[in-house]
Symmetry: C2
Subunit: 357 residues, 2 copies
């Protein structure tokens, strides 16, 4: 069997790096889960062994995020794109209105889906500035059923540094910065996140919901779309994505072991500062997001002379750096430095930025 080399530094935006120990444990479980003689891939989801995995994962989310008992934790099929539809389907009646912030492609897509289910007020937008900043001055209508934000924007490298204060219900897509920084998560009524950044492999969706907000619409919701059905079945309404949930559990355990969200936030700040400083001090590279709104997860930058970007990609590749090509819609570079990214790998990129002539 091949073993991982230490020479690859994976800055992919997602699916993305996870802790090496998680890969090792996951790999072993595909052969023999907990010494059962069975692969995790052939483990029945109703077995005691898997029920324990699901329950530990759900409990760890509550513990790490310090959620109160109003919250239910679900691991659902699909990605955040599924939630763009599922959130308004559960929360918004056709004659009601919801407030959405348009701060990146994902928020924009969420708006499009919400409009299929009710009225939408787009309360702010940075779309005409290529989503390079997070709008600060906006008002949320009192009658908005909820305010939807996308806390971190993978493509453009911005992040809400302050969670907006409003009296409305708060709904957040945290796909790309969940578990990366301390927030008062109890301020949100619904949080969702595709797993494939800070949590696990693609193919599972974390949904955290204040159960008190559910059951208030008149809409008839298909069985698989109704959060209440999943809550009633302890996140096992149908066969869950067993392996993906297990890898999430491994990552959550790792996070707890290194000290939880506060500890990883400290490391994330250190990594982001290291990389942004190198970009700011360089004559060749320039960051694309407004400084005060810069993401600590996705560092986006371009070259003053963009004809040299392919050269830098090649140079970086020669140092073992992969995944820094910017999103197909933006060009330039994007270095994703999620929780599992070691500072030593960030240093390799920083050295490359400094060494490139």
């Amino acid at each position: 069997m091949s073993t991982p080399t230490n020479t690859v530094h994976n800055f992919n935006a997602g699916p993305s790096i996870l802790p090496k120990s998680v890969f090792e444990q996951a790999s072993a479980a595909v052969l023999n889960f907990n010494n059962s003689g069975l692969s995790i891939l052939e483990l029945g989801h109703r077995t005691a062994a898997f029920t324990a995995v699901m329950e530990e994962a759900r409990a760890l989310v509550k513990e790490l995020m310090q959620l109160n008992n109003n919250y239910e934790v679900l691991f659902l099929h699909g990605g955040a794109s599924t939630q763009f539809m599922q959130v308004p389907m559960n929360l918004l009646d056709s004659k009601e209105r919801a407030a959405y912030t348009d701060t990146d492609i994902w928020g924009y897509k969420a708006i499009k889906e919400a409009k299929l289910f009710g009225g939408v007020d787009v309360v702010c937008s940075s779309r005409d500035k290529n989503y390079s900043f997070i709008p600060k001055d906006f008002a949320v209508p009192n009658d908005a059923k909820y305010l939807h934000i996308t806390t971190n924007n993978t493509i453009y490298g911005t992040q809400w540094q302050q969670i907006p204060f409003c009296s409305n219900s708060l709904v957040a897509d945290m796909s790309s910065d969940i578990f990366s920084r301390v927030l008062d998560f109890n301020r949100f009524d619904l949080i969702y996140a595709g797993a494939q950044k800070n949590m696990g492999p693609a193919g599972v969706n974390l949904v955290i919901v204040n159960k008190n907000i559910l059951g208030k619409t008149k809409r008839i919701i298909p069985t698989m779309m109704d959060y209440r059905n999943h809550i009633n079945e302890a996140s096992m309404l149908n066969t869950p994505p067993v392996f993906a949930v297990y890898v999430c559990l491994l990552t959550l355990r790792w996070l707890k072991n290194i000290g939880g969200i506060a500890a990883v936030e400290k490391l994330n700040i250190e990594k982001a500062n290291l990389l942004y400083n190198a970009i700011d001090e360089s004559d060749l590279f320039v960051g694309t997001a407004v400084k005060e709104d810069r993401s600590k997860m996705n560092v986006c930058f371009v070259m003053n002379d963009n004809s040299r970007e392919d050269d830098f990609l090649q140079f970086a590749k020669s140092k073992g750096i992969v995944g820094i090509k910017g999103h197909r819609t933006t060009g330039g570079f994007r270095a994703s430095i999620y929780n599992a990214m070691p500072i030593s790998s960030v240093q390799v990129l920083v050295d490359a930025i400094k060494a490139f002539k």
Copy 2:
């Protein structure tokens, strides 16, 4: 790292056994995919490496099933339960009617969802006989938009031996017998299957659709629910369940290598005959499904003296047999003998049946 023991015979109904070589390759790829130095779990889905996986998997499905060029192959998030909603959402207008067969719990659930989207005619049912047989005499209204069948019934151990002939569009849930027997798959307009029986791990859904039947409803379909959007993006509308798709590919390659569907069908018949004969020859055990409708995938049986069932479970366990407890709604026993189940494991169960006093 632990290695799998050879002493466990896994008769779980799903998630269920996959070929041992698939587990080995999947385990290796979690550490180092194709010698890239990256885990398959951290591989970006837009990389050339993963696009190749997706395209090979889609092409192999078409090849193994000998599908003509009207068909599109999609690997979608979710399980068959998601398709219960997605099928009528795409195919059935609110004033149209569809025909459904009620031959097991899954068909029953599919009926419930379809009723949310249009009219449903239940054209046959074996519900009042505990789903122990497949109805033969029924008529499908000419105006039914489609006829829906569940080709194999995991819980009750029945299987459609003949695919009903009708002039309507044919839609089939093949979750538990896909790739297990030769059929004229081009007779179906839509086939769907949760992966976790004959194809891969839980967390991905195979949808095979005749593209000519799409786009005929007036309903506005949410982006993630519209098959056409997935077709247009080559099954990469959003981040797909990368690992689950990869394991499906490994299983499809394995199937092709052993000779394809015709070859595995021969083995499946041999395994089923071996086990059913042992049950029929026994004085203690009795099969629950009507003989002519018996499933070659899920063999359901009880004991004449049901007070002894726990003893048999213990006895079987001592032989390394796991997963034969019947579904929580039926009791008794269920031995699932999917494509990857070796005949040697079936023999161990047969020996246990013969040896038990």
